[in-house]
C-alpha cells in the first residue's frame, strides 16, 4: 500500500508539523498580537516584564536535558541511587537539585535488554520540564502524538531505532500529572568513564525513549 499523502496542491499556510516554518508575515502578525497582549497584561498588573524575562531565561539556560543526563549518569554509577530513582523518582531527582514545575510527580522507567520504554502525551504535550527542559517540536507534533501509541515500532524505526520482536515495547502516555523519563541502558565500552563523561553521552531523545545512548565514535 502506498502510505504517501496524496498529490499536493495544499493551500498556503504553515506546515503544522514544524514550529519554525511560519512565513515572515505570520511571524510579524504574531509578534504584534503578543506585544499587544503583553502591554495589556502589564497595564492590568498581571505580569511584569522583568519576571517574564527571568522565567523564560530559566528554560533557556538552566533547565534542560543536561539535568536529566546527570540523573541518568548518577543512576549508572550508583546502584543505590538507581534503586531510589526507580522507586521514588521525584525524591531521587531532588537529591541532585532538580525538580519543580511539570516535574512535581516524576516516574522513571528503565530500559533493559528486554524492555524498551517510550514517552508521549497524546492529549497535549506533557513533558518532564525539570529534567528535560521544554519539549522539542516533534514531540508536540500531531504525527508523533497520534502514531507512537498505535505503531511505536514504526515510529522508533523513523528515529533510526530498529527493535527486535523479542523486546517488549512499553509506551507511556502522560495523561495525568505524572511525568515520565526513560533511564536508558548504559552502553558497552563506558566502563572507565567518569560520571561527567557519562552524562555527556546522554541525549534528550534517549531520555524520551526514541533513541539509545551511544558511545560517540570520536571517543572510541
Amino acid at each position: 500500500m502506498n502510505s504517501e499523502h496524496g498529490h499536493g496542491h495544499h493551500r498556503a499556510g504553515p506546515d503544522p508539523r514544524t514550529e519554525s516554518h511560519l512565513t515572515p508575515e505570520q511571524t510579524q502578525a504574531l509578534e504584534a498580537r503578543v506585544q499587544a497582549l503583553e502591554a495589556v497584561l502589564v497595564a492590568k498588573g498581571f505580569v511584569s516584564p522583568a519576571t517574564l524575562d527571568a522565567l523564560a531565561s530559566l528554560y533557556e539556560h538552566d533547565i534542560g536535558p543536561m539535568n536529566g543526563a546527570k540523573v541518568v549518569a548518577r543512576a549508572w554509577v550508583d546502584p543505590a541511587y538507581k534503586q531510589r530513582l526507580l522507586t521514588d523518582a521525584t525524591a531521587a531527582i531532588a537529591e541532585l537539585g532538580f525538580g519543580g514545575l511539570q516535574g512535581e510527580h516524576m516516574v522513571v522507567v528503565e530500559n533493559t535488554p528486554t524492555v524498551h520504554n517510550v514517552v508521549v502525551c497524546t492529549l497535549c504535550s506533557c513533558y518532564p520540564w525539570p529534567v528535560l527542559g521544554l519539549p522539542p517540536t516533534w514531540y508536540k507534533s500531531a504525527a508523533y502524538r497520534s502514531r507512537v501509541v498505535i505503531d511505536p515500532r514504526g515510529v522508533l524505526r523513523e528515529f533510526g531505532l530498529e527493535l527486535p520482536e523479542s523486546v517488549e515495547v512499553r509506551v507511556w502516555d502522560s495523561s495525568a500529572e505524572l511525568r515520565y523519563m526513560v533511564l536508558p541502558e548504559r552502553p558497552a565500552g563506558t566502563e572507565g568513564m567518569s560520571e561527567a563523561e557519562l552524562a555527556a553521552l546522554v541525549t534528550r531523545d534517549a531520555m524520551i525513549g526514541v533513541a539509545k545512548v551511544c558511545v560517540k565514535s570520536d571517543r572510541a
Binding site: 502591554a39 497524546t122 521544554l134 516533534w138
Partner: protein, 219 residues
C-alpha cells in the same frame, strides 16, 4: 469533548519531522507567550481550564498552528471569557477598563521560586480510599463527556490491569469547569497493545496510561 486534540491512534499525519539543534524558542513571541501563560496560570483560571481552552480551538486552527500559538489562543480565550480583557484591548494593546488582576504581579524571585518548587496536583489521600489495587483488572469506562476529560478515546471500553496507585489528584473533568478539585485516586493502568489495536499489534507490547478512578470500572 471528542476533539481533534485526542490524537492517539490516528495514522494520517505523515512522517515525524525533526529539527536539528532546535532552539528553546523559535521567536521572541514564543518566549513571551510561554512566560505570560505560566505567570497567569492559576490567576486567570486552572491548568485544566487552560488545556480545555486549547481543546476548544477550531480543529483546522489547532492543526495548522504551532504549540505556542495554541497557548496564545487559550490564554486570550480565558482572559476574554473571564472578562479580564476586551477584544478591543487585545487588538490595540491599550487598556480601557480598570486594572483587574486579583494580585500584584509576581517579582522575578518569587516566580523562580515557584518554578523550583512546582505546583503539586496531588492532595491528601484521606479524601477517598482507592477502590483498586495493583493487579486488579479494570475496564476504562466508555465516557464521552461534553467538556474536558483526560480519558482519551483510544482506551475507552478497553480492559487493562492496575500497575500502580499514584496517589490522590485534582480531577480535571470538574476542575476545568469551575466544579472544584474533587480529588480522587489516579492509577497507572497497563493495556496490552493487542487489546487496544487488535491483532496487528506486537504481541508483547504494552501501553501504560494514568487514569483517574472515575474513568475506571471493575472488569
Amino acid at each position: 469533548m471528542n476533539g481533534i486534540h485526542d490524537l492517539g491512534g490516528m495514522t494520517c499525519f505523515g512522517p515525524i519531522l525533526r529539527e536539528e539543534n532546535e532552539p528553546v524558542f523559535h521567536a521572541p513571541w514564543e518566549r513571551r507567550v510561554f512566560a505570560m501563560t505560566m505567570l497567569t496560570m492559576g490567576v486567570v483560571d486552572t491548568l485544566d481550564a487552560f488545556r480545555h481552552a486549547i481543546e476548544r480551538m477550531d480543529p483546522v486552527h489547532y492543526l495548522t498552528s504551532t504549540y505556542y500559538e495554541h497557548w496564545l489562543a487559550a490564554l486570550e480565550t480565558l482572559l476574554l471569557e473571564h472578562g479580564l480583557v476586551t477584544a478591543e484591548e487585545l487588538a490595540t494593546g491599550t487598556v480601557r477598563t480598570p486594572v483587574t488582576s486579583p494580585r500584584s504581579p509576581l517579582p522575578p524571585e518569587a516566580m523562580v521560586a515557584i518554578v523550583r518548587r512546582g505546583v503539586p496536583a496531588n492532595r491528601p489521600a484521606d479524601q477517598r480510599t482507592p477502590r483498586f489495587r495493583p493487579g486488579d483488572q479494570v475496564i476504562a469506562r466508555n465516557l464521552h463527556p461534553i467538556g474536558h476529560t483526560r480519558l482519551p478515546r483510544y482506551v475507552r471500553g478497553k480492559r487493562g490491569v492496575i500497575a500502580r496507585v499514584h496517589g490522590t489528584f485534582v480531577y480535571p473533568d470538574t476542575n476545568a469547569h469551575g466544579g472544584g478539585e474533587q480529588p480522587q485516586p489516579v492509577y497507572s493502568v497497563c493495556f496490552m497493545a493487542r487489546e487496544l489495536w487488535g491483532p496487528s499489534a506486537a504481541e508483547r507490547d504494552r501501553l501504560y496510561i494514568d487514569l483517574w478512578e472515575d474513568y475506571l470500572q471493575e472488569a
